[in-house]
């Protein structure tokens, strides 16, 4: 039986190689048909490497590439990798997928900015900003799912936190209190989710959906009833960007990573903190044990229920920071349904990142990049309707989920209520 299973696995792996190979060839074809064909010869693409305000130590020259030859080169790279996959089938397709994705994005940008100049640093910086709520949502997902509670209510938690941050911030004129209140409100919803799924053993997808509907209804209701009537209740102000000394003066990296507001730095800290906690502490070991094999953990004296409650509520606190970012971290105002699916995209980032903080953060940046395309490309007057550019993050999410799932292994007990015997 083991041999048969092994053979079946090989057949599946082989099929997958051919599938990825064909996908890479398609990408090459896309570049040829859409980008190469519409680019006249002799144009250059310039990428600006300096921030708008010159704060870096050294001023870099723009990166100027000849548009058409670069596009041909990128198409050739994709075609070569596709052929390689079909002929040989490399064992880890991950790096090849990464290269092809990078080639496609690069080709797209070179094409979009052909004959013009585009500020690459600005683009990357806005990608990071748009990745922050997605990453925090993904961290929330990791905390919950490592303890085997599926949390699709991240969206609702972030929406509530965004509302509470705007509201409390306007009343107290203190952004820190607003942030705390946002985290607490989100943690409160997380606690409801925890009680429903752990105590009442409600299907976790259903209980998550309930919280999403409830959060949408409650925030829209209160917003219509109060925030829209009393405008001064919806004017919390925002965290101002802080340039980190020295770090912000590094060319490219400085303006992209170290000239943001405090929530961005909190996200960096959480990234490291959750990674260390999850993989190098007793709490992390217990969490992962509860997520993989709750019965064994229980037998060894780990309190499965308590671990799950704690993790889900911790996740709620983290999602609350992500929600607060929408209002007091960026626009300084609450709008109905303003999270626009970022919580769900965060879940996709978590899956794409294989339930690890660094993986999730990296994939959040990809989604953030897809999200920032729309605003940046409109400036270049790309002949694509803005609606299609706005679709990008959602399409990327679907493609990523379809491509990665099955290869990414979730915690073994994910989504299953635990019954003590």
């Amino acid at each position: 039986m083991a041999v048969a299973a092994r053979n079946a696995e090989l057949v599946i792996a082989r099929r997958r190689h051919i599938g990825t190979g064909i996908f890479f060839l398609l990408v090459a074809l896309l570049i040829l048909v859409f980008f190469v064909r519409t680019t006249p010869a002799g144009l250059d693409t310039a990428f600006g490497l300096n921030p708008g305000r010159a704060t870096t130590a050294v001023k870099l020259p723009d990166l100027v590439l000849p548009s058409l030859p670069s596009l041909w080169f990128l198409a050739a790279v994709c075609a070569f990798l596709g052929g390689w996959q079909i002929a040989k089938g490399s064992r880890s397709t991950g790096w090849a997928l990464g290269v092809v994705a990078f080639a496609f994005v690069a080709a797209f940008l070179i094409w979009a900015a052909r004959g013009k100049s585009m500020n690459l640093v600005g683009m990357l910086s806005s990608s990071l900003l748009r990745a922050i709520p997605i990453a925090l949502g993904a961290f929330c997902g990791i905390l919950c799912e490592r303890a085997a509670v599926i949390n699709i209510a991240i969206e609702g938690m972030m929406l509530t936190a965004a509302f509470v941050a705007a509201w409390i911030g306007s009343i107290t004129h203190n952004l820190w209190i607003a942030l705390m209140a946002a985290m607490l409100s989100s943690a409160f919803l997380a606690a409801i989710l925890a009680v429903l799924s752990i105590k009442f053993k409600v299907d976790q997808i259903v209980s998550g959906t309930v919280i999403n509907i409830f959060a949408t209804g409650l925030t829209s209701y209160l917003s219509a009833k109060f925030l829209q009537v009393y405008q001064n209740l919806n004017n919390p102000g925002i965290f101002k960007p802080i340039s980190l000394p020295l770090l912000s003066r590094i060319p490219i990296i400085g303006p992209v990573f170290f000239e943001h507001n405090i929530i961005v730095y909190i996200t960096f800290l959480l990234l490291i903190l959750i990674h260390v906690m999850l993989f190098y502490t007793r709490w992390g070991l217990r969490t992962r044990a509860v997520g993989e094999h709750p019965k064994a953990a229980d037998t060894l004296g780990v309190n499965v229920f308590r671990t799950r409650y704690i993790n889900v509520i911790l996740g709620g606190l983290v999602a609350g920071i992500g929600g607060a970012f929408f209002t007091i971290g960026s626009v300084g105002r609450f709008d109905e349904v303003m999270t626009a699916g970022k919580g769900f995209i965060g879940l996709a980032a978590m899956i794409f990142g294989k339930w690890t903080p660094f993986g999730a953060f990296g994939s959040s940046i990809i989604f953030g990049f897809a999200d920032s395309l729309q605003t940046k490309l409109q400036i270049l007057q790309v002949p694509i309707p803005s609606e299609f550019l706005l679709m990008a993050p959602y399409l990327v999410t679907m493609v990523v989920l379809a491509g990665v799932i099955g290869r990414a292994v979730p915690p073994a007990a994910d989504g299953q209520p635990y019954e003590k015997q």
């Binding site: 409650l218 209701y221 309707p385 099955g406 979730p410 073994a412 299953q416």
Partner: protein
Amino acid sequence: MSEQKERASQNNPDTRAQALARLLLRPARGSVWQAILLPVLAVFTALVIGALVIVFTDLQVLNLYKDFFSAPGKALAASWKSIASAYSALFKGSIGNPAEFAKAISVLRATGDAAPLRQAFWPISESLVTSVPYIFAGLAVALGFQCGLFNIGAEGQIFIGALASVYVGYSIKGLPQYIHLPLAFLTGAAAAGLWAAVAGVLKAKTGAHEVINTIMMNYIAFLLSDWLLNGPMKRPGYSPISPAIQDSAWLPKFFPDPLRFHAGFFVALGIAAVVYWLLFKTTIGFEIRSVGANPDAARYAGISVTRNFVLAMFLSGALAGMAGANEVLGVNHQLASAFSSGYGFDSIALALLGKSHPVGVVLAALLFGTLRSGATRMQSLAGVPIDIISILQALVIIFIAAPAIIRWLYRLRLEREVGETVFTRGWGQ
């Protein structure tokens, strides 16, 4: 996971298949009374909590509570007045005002003028008109539930169905009604079905969870409809509205204005009957329900799980598309952006309330249609934002999904449900 699978395969598959058959074919247990009690109590409790929300967000009432200990009567009376005005506006807006009925009948007797009577019947006509998309969308979600699929994409599918049927409705000219109307209606259903089937294929082939995919496709559908209504499908002028459909594509109306009641209501009831027949009287339905009850056992019994996922998603999407087609052909006769405003999302609560059974769905849809059209009136008369409906829905789902709460609240001994649908099988298994 692997250990569990091994353990599952050690169980004798024959007995599991038999258990599955018993589960699906078992006669309804428990009395009708018990089956009704829980949903009724759930709705009642939700309304009570909704009343609390209305009171505690009413600033005037809250101000009175400051002097609660000196003048408790005042605060309580104001609370009662706040609740009563909200819920009576809800009632008048959804069923009608009894006094108005009486007056209209006396006018009709005296002068033979039926206009006031029509005006009196207007709220109930509106409630029925609002129920129709709910019936379709509720059936869509319920059919997905029966196959163990959680279709949160009904809202997007409604948009796709509406886009397709409005296109057929305005672009094809000169067809007789008996061809044009069904053509427009079924095109909407088919387009939305194919749209939803994408999520089914992705689940079947790659294991990507349909919840995330259908939500992503919602956003894509909204953006697609924005683009179409601002570009290719825009009527001459400034606003993003499609051209009006041909008269030959209208669902027939029975009464003069302002009564908007139309034939879509009967179509919806007919479709509900068809869904019942399909689910419970045909092999297709048996397969769909088997996959929903236990995919592993279904697979062992020779049922193709992947094919049923795709089929159920297609049918579910087609039903949601009918909701969109119905709104276009029966109510609006054109398509403006953001026309659906949440029928698809509400239908999740509705399908759960109706226990995923067509009869239950129709009843729940009538309730939701009544609530929603009443809530519009409540917003204008009592200043209670229409979003209170979402809060009520979330509460209803909680109480239906966690019956233990209702049992505890009312000290009831209800029979524990068996064979409840399970959606959480992790990501992609």
